[in-house]
Symmetry: C2
Amino acid sequence: MTDPRPRAEALDRFLGTALKLAREARTIVLQRIAAGFDSRRKQDGSFVTDVDLEVETRLRAGLQEAYPDHSILGEEQAPRETGSDYLWTIDPIDGTHSLRHGVPLFGTLLALTYRGQAVVGVIDLPGLDRCYGARFGGGACRDGRPLRLRDVAGGDTVEGEIVAIGQRAQFVAAGRPDVFDCLSRAHPAVRTYCDCFGHALAVEGAVGAMVDFDLRPWDITASRLLIAEAGGKYVEVGKRVAEHGIEHHDVVFGKPTVVDWIVARIGGS
Amino acid sequence: MTDPRPRAEALDRFLGTALKLAREARTIVLQRIAAGFDSRRKQDGSFVTDVDLEVETRLRAGLQEAYPDHSILGEEQAPRETGSDYLWTIDPIDGTHSLRHGVPLFGTLLALTYRGQAVVGVIDLPGLDRCYGARFGGGACRDGRPLRLRDVAGGDTVEGEIVAIGQRAQFVAAGRPDVFDCLSRAHPAVRTYCDCFGHALAVEGAVGAMVDFDLRPWDITASRLLIAEAGGKYVEVGKRVAEHGIEHHDVVFGKPTVVDWIVARIGGS
């Protein structure tokens, strides 16, 4: 079944559902942290915790109840394919490594695409009590307050900004460790604020840009819409199809001047 | 005037004063962030904000009122030398670059030394609502709850830990960029959680270790006591006397096994 092209009212409703489900997810996350949780290693060597699984189960249940005909792609469970033009992507815990160790910079990512275009995006950071949301054409908000990214201007410089970057291992996985090494040397304030924490800081302009490589769809779809709706620039410098046909994306996004400065130094893939 | 060697009751009183002043500093910081503040560049090229100055002024006034005979060394204002065995060190805002840009990982550092030995240490993180405190022989606490660092054990590995590291520019300043580059390659989860945020995470064991170079006394004295009182290991791998006779320290601290793993790879200075 193909929906008509979504109108603003429909998008607002989808965003409202996503924000409500993110709040429910946060409640689960905070309760589980307080009570303790188990974790184990996945086939790819990364960890998954009980929190990841419980949050994804809750989000899927909430989405299926609200939109039974929509498809769902989540990090931890099998895809739900309905043939719909609408596809929700879920990363129940982005930053599982941080969550396991007690670093409060993990988050929950939820996004909706319509025929491949991101139309709703939410990043929730339970450890910082911050929630970022956007719908296509409606602007981006943090905790209900509109965000408007200001580019570097006046007496400010690209070198005076903070540049957030993923861990070096991601750049190795993408075949581009030179990008990590080049930027660490070229810019005075490069920080590995990995996962959605760095994405959220880029959306609100606290960092000048985020440089993140080897991302799966559920890692990047929400941020891609949020940065566009906040008035920032998003550049994909590389893309690969990896295991299970999942695309991996190498991206730079944030204040336009900072993004251009970075892309000029690291080149394409 | 030379005090007798401080007893536990005296140290508890000093810690109580430090925690009370840190709370007052936090109130100033949060009010100033909400209201907006100005910043300007210092002679060394780094920035100072109105927040740094107002917090240091408040902390100095509180310390002078409580302990008029103690010496004070702060980042932003001239030293107060009384000839006392007691010296307070103040970093009103550790992470001014973060504060200026809206990255919520900055903090306030306050420490007391007695004849050069750290006896009280406080790290306050207003953006995360966390406060860490310790006095010599009394253990370390976060928000009043005792902290006890567990070393890597059982099925856990050094590679499974997160390693926090300062920005590469600090290692360049210390003449050891090889340390940054070596660790970024050797360990899968190295993150530039710079400033006191990384220190605090090491004290509570959320990261396996913090590797931080080119630190002044007010950057490191509180953390040195906190990590010792939490049961962690602290290794100084380098030290230099720089401008104004101020010592700069290159340190690794955290879980003993992780500290040993790092020190074995980077060598001494």
